[in-house]
Subunit: 450 residues, 4 copies
């Protein structure tokens, strides 16, 4: 998500801000811009470049804008353009647009209530639920209506809401999903990842706090607390693989935390080997850390093909069996005859990991030791990451030895939860907690019956 | 609009059915298909070909489908993809999709009521109003809820509504907009124009009657009357220019009616001239009729350029002034030195007519007599044609002489209302009335305060 | 083909000029522009709009340009972009570009000679043969080299040749293919069809004469005669179906000539019937003429679907068999219960004609009388029309009665050669002859062994 | 370049082989396939994906194919589709296609000779010169004609030539440009980079030797020597930045050589600093080597934005000045307050280097020490790399101190030629020489007057 308030080029900067966060969702994207009087929307299915190549930014004039890149999760499947955010709701007197990241856990119950009292929900998105709750609120002003609505929903979320004359920015009471505020001159910017600030020339100001609703208007920022202060529970997977390495989360740089995870992993699970290599792109930092700690050389043992896009013609099954590779290829000149430590950031379903081990062996590696720079994922995520059932999580259903055999490695080790926390959490204050429910099963938010 | 019930290739046939009616709306298009259990939607901005070139018809499986091509009118402006129909509304238990043509005159009042009682309307379409009225109905079954909702709306409309297991087809109590039913084998098809039946290999069965709601399901057709029987008031402009010449409306072929209008026009307003020509494509039939009646030769004095599409590079102002033509060009070899009768179907704003008169003169016509094959349009349309204010209607604000001078013609004459009726109405029964409110000011439906 | 000399917007006007002649070739297109010092080329496969939608006209600056739309014929098959014209040949000192229409009959022999003496021909186009002949000429200046080369080739052709500082325009000694010269202000334009002049705001000056080479440069026009004066033998098929109705050929308007062919046909082969209809678009003029002469009403019995483009999804065989139509559809409301005279411009392979007769019957026509507004085509064309073997010409291999049965008509008649000549040739001078070899077998140019 | 002989899926595998080498040229691409009887060509401007997204591989059937990705150099500018390779020449009896990489130094003189004797060259490519030389050869068979032609040309080149029944593969007498042979089952494959073998599932067999012409046919491989054995002079820039890190050149892995260059650089030019970072993607290997040798941590201080494609909307000058970044962005969390060693692979014009130094300082780096992992480039390349004049080479025209100031670094150092050779050349045999003319001015091939 990205938002900007008070800049002549609001829509264009949102385009660049979404671009910087394209890795967070590739299914669809949209921008809503306000010129102070009306809201205008441009959205579509596909990448930011594809959706906006025909957009006329002259028609998207205005000093405030919000944008979104779509990533399907639990409560929010489907590839229809109606579900692409931001969602824009127009009434006769006013309009309101919503961008949302995360997952509302009691969405089903809330939907049922809303529908039973006559509301029509057009999409399967959680976002729409909040819009209806706000509309149904008896509060006189939007601010209070939003607070009332937020108090009814449970889950992990961040919202950016745009009206003609105000922008509302909020994070759930545990701050599970990240959202930060920056400035470009006098203009405010909001983004899921701080790397978007760097790309649009903004400076980081601060994170949106758990349970905080920030109202941005011509009067500047106003902070409202809508929930009791609780310990921050920032999603550990943001560090493990979701965020860009150049983003800072909770004042901790993502690349740096990954490298530390690699170092901790090297301390916990050393192995006698010749080279260390990482799966591009997200495991490179951890691999460098492992190499640095272990004293083994880091080498580029696996290469990612850069030119694969939407028009790439997938090789037929026959050609794939004959050895035609697509996205990743091993570097024979580096791994041949070597004992390789292969660092991966995590294992969800195990298919990629298994494939890479096989590629490395085919390229001549004599031993392949897999080291995972995060703890085993044994529990589903209800907070917005696409791992929703225990059944699909390979680590939940297999012992370490069985898993090692399944992926075909000579040895397999995961980073411990303690090791991960050492790498991510600088000092254990109320601000610094992380959510590692998918690894530990300790869920910060639960909803009965869901 | 197009709908089909009970055919294996429902979505594909809807594609061809929409294609046949592309001239009725070029802004956007969509198809909703039902496989008996769920509804699936594919829609987008642009022509039918553009929107469906990447569609995967394998994913649009089902035996029932409805489709729509979008044309902006009064209450329904905007080029956002959200407003493209069919609109699909999903609740936890069921789904419903709407395709609508026409204009609901009390939409504003109904919206206000709905919004005041907590509903959120996401689009500016009238369609959505009906959806909310149905949802809010206290009737137990959908059929009754639709009847209750239809009884609250006033205006000119046709709807095709699709649920998982039923299709509902309806026309307003005056039957202002056309809608017909046909069959392909055992399957039912519904279309705004009968020409769509010919293109998909269907046979015409009958028109949907004014104030009739037809329910199509596995049990076959069921007809419900939701309004008192009143005289049919089919939109005259459908004959004048909107429909394809190969369509039949009220059992009268459109080409034939246009040709008769041309003949009546020749009787009413003859002129001494050398050739008769018509503005392609919609005025050709009338021009042929005028020629036949007058004994003057019909000639192709104006040609339409066929290859202009969306990627056509518009000539700059400079080049246009140097004489670069785009869509229409006069045929010098035919009009040079000739006294030309130029037949046009109608005059709305007058700009096209003026331009063609100038082109004919530049190509050497010594006299240009303009004959309009319909009466002057002096009143706005509230029933779905894009002529919404009196201000823009050139005939409402100028005398015939002034108008003749404005368009630069040597003489100008319109067809009389009587002449038009002779050409369209076969026998004056309850079934055969037409709405000519834009010419006569006699509105069949009025809503106070709108 | 289109060319322009002496205009600031040479490339853009060529774009519009090609657009106007798109019907002459849809396989590929290109433009070469000269800024006085270098030649620049942009070309590609597809329609003018498609090829130039990404073209940067700012990079195609220059005051002279030539362009071409490609249509495959006898000696010139293949869909490789290399064969798309204009062909541009660069040497170290100068460049030269060629656009060509027609067919060189001794191309094979000339190619063999050229290849035997060490030349490499990169394309299968006749155009390249001329380029090599010019290069191999011992003449000192380009003008003389072109004359020498032209004297070696036999066939039907028009060429527009562009060098940095000169344009050369020529027609074969019989003037089989048309080429005209016009002016926009001080600029000269050249086009295969005069309709292109109208569309770019140019005025017609004169036709390029048989055996004439015109050199256009800063000094104006210069005319050179490279062959003995012979009677003009303009291709009759240009009148019959190839040219646009708004073009003039040899000072005869194409629509007017087609209408006269229809009239002559009505005189020669009248029939008792109810309506006359024509196959759109090229047979409409003749049908109107037939109707006018016979006193029968002309009706729009067959409609052409306008929105079929390159992205149109062709109906499957199954759907076609169920009656899904594509390009042409009959108008039931007009033909049902009627005796129909169906006018077609010509019959080559007979498949289209047969299909339309069937469509008319399915739509309820009780009789279908086919009248062809040109004589039977019984001989192949060696001059640039794609009918190259006798085998494929249905009229060459069947009696009139057999043919009538094959296409399923109640009666069938062709226009006589005399009737056609009456309609095309105003007065039988040396300028006014036509080539009707495909009908009469009298070939104006022959080459032994080909 | 890529070629394959003896595989059912020749064209498809060539597509994947070109894909793997897309980094070697992005301007255009093409494939020629032979089915034993005819050659077929598909080519166009743009990336492999763009050009082949509409290609019908069913029409590109055959068991032999060659392909090319185009990169403009010295003798070969221009973005016209005619110049995109492979070039296909058809005569009446046979066809021949050429793919070429490198630069023929005496091309101008050879062109002049060819043109003077009547040949027409259609493109500005060197490739065409070879085609004409072969055609003009008096030798009876193609093999001998190719040898005769090769003996006339001087320069750095590799060719893959395809006839209906044979493929010819060759490298210049010094082997300046790389070309290797591999196998997939019984099929032979040829590629500029060995990484293409890995991606199509082929195994490396051997490099094509300097001055060797290999003929591949149904009889298998046949090797012909057309030039005296000389020391291999493989282009050093292939190691420095041109090749993929997963390619092997002369049995030396490119990533490994780059890492060694980084290590040598650390030995030669150490610096007291906090972190080492590299410019993605080509300088990462060297940066890791520098870090490993120096004991400083390697960090991801600069990030490359992955989603920039052809439809990316470039930021306006105004937005760029406000800090909107495009391709590369610094990682504030890593470089802030740090002394940074920034490793770049080479400096040609200096603009990129200067920009990155500025970005790092803006992101808070307190010192920026630039270390270049190759020697200064002070001489133009005549062998196929796009650095053709001394004027544009910043190192040729400035002292080290001046250069350091120009790019805004705190210190600047280059790797020595000896250091580079240590990293690339395993043992100084006749096979192992490199061409470092752009650094040393020692040109292995010279042509008087060019």
């Amino acid at each position: 998500m990205f938002g900007i308030w008070g800049h002549e080029k609001a829509a264009e900067l949102t385009y660049y801000g979404l671009h910087a966060q394209q890795h967070r969702g590739q299914e669809g994207t949209g921008i809503v811009v306000s010129d102070g009087e009306t809201l205008k929307l441009h959205k579509g299915l596909g990448l930011v470049n594809d959706v906006f190549k025909h957009a006329n930014f002259k028609e998207l004039q205005g000093r405030a804008a919000i944008g979104h890149v779509r990533y399907s999760t639990l409560g929010d499947k489907g590839t229809e353009v109606d579900s692409v955010q931001p969602l824009l709701f127009r009434s006769q007197t006013t309009s309101i647009a919503f961008a949302h990241s995360g997952n509302i856990m009691n969405a089903h119950a809330l939907r049922r209530e809303l529908e039973d009292s006559g509301s029509i929900l057009q999409t399967s998105t959680d976002t729409e639920v909040l819009a209806h709750l706000i509309k149904r609120s008896t509060q006189a002003n939007t601010e209070d209506a939003i607070v009332e609505a937020l108090q009814k929903i449970a889950g992990a979320y961040t919202f950016i809401i745009l009206k003609e004359d105000k922008m509302y920015v909020t994070t759930d009471p545990h701050g599970i999903r990240p959202l930060s505020i920056g400035k470009i001159g006098e203009a405010y910017v909001v983004a899921s990842e701080t790397s978007a600030f760097d790309l649009v020339g903004a400076t980081f100001e601060r994170e949106v706090l758990p349970g905080e609703l920030i109202v941005i208007s011509e009067e500047g920022l106003k902070s409202i607390r809508f929930a009791m202060r609780e310990q921050r529970k920032l999603c550990a997977m943001e560090y493990v693989y979701l965020s860009r390495p150049d983003s800072d989360l909770n004042h901790v740089n993502v690349h740096a935390s990954r490298k530390k995870m690699g170092k901790e992993l090297a301390k916990e699970s050393p192995v006698e080997a010749d080279v260390v290599t990482g799966v591009p792109d997200s495991s490179i930092s951890a691999a460098i850390g492992y190499a640095e700690q272990s004293g083994l050389p880091y080498e580029m043992g696996i290469i990612k093909n850069r030119y694969i896009g939407r028009t790439f013609i997938q090789p037929s099954q026959e050609l794939r069996e004959q050895g035609v590779k697509m996205k990743l290829s091993p570097v024979r000149g580096i791994v041949e005859g070597k004992r390789v430590v292969m660092i991966d950031d995590s294992i969800v379903r195990g298919t990629t990991c298994k494939r890479i081990v096989r590629l490395l062996r085919e390229a001549g590696a004599v031993e392949v030791h897999v080291r995972i720079a995060s703890p085993p994922i044994e529990n589903p995520c209800f907070y917005g990451i696409d791992m929703s059932t225990k059944k699909e999580l390979i680590a939940a259903n297999n012992s370490l030895d069985a898993l090692c055999e399944m992926i075909g490695a000579d040895s397999l080790a995961y980073l411990s939860v303690e090791g991960m926390e050492k790498a991510i959490v600088r000092d254990k204050t109320i601000h610094q907690g992380i959510c590692s429910a998918c690894m530990t099963g300790k869920y910060p938010v639960t909803v009965s019956g869901e």
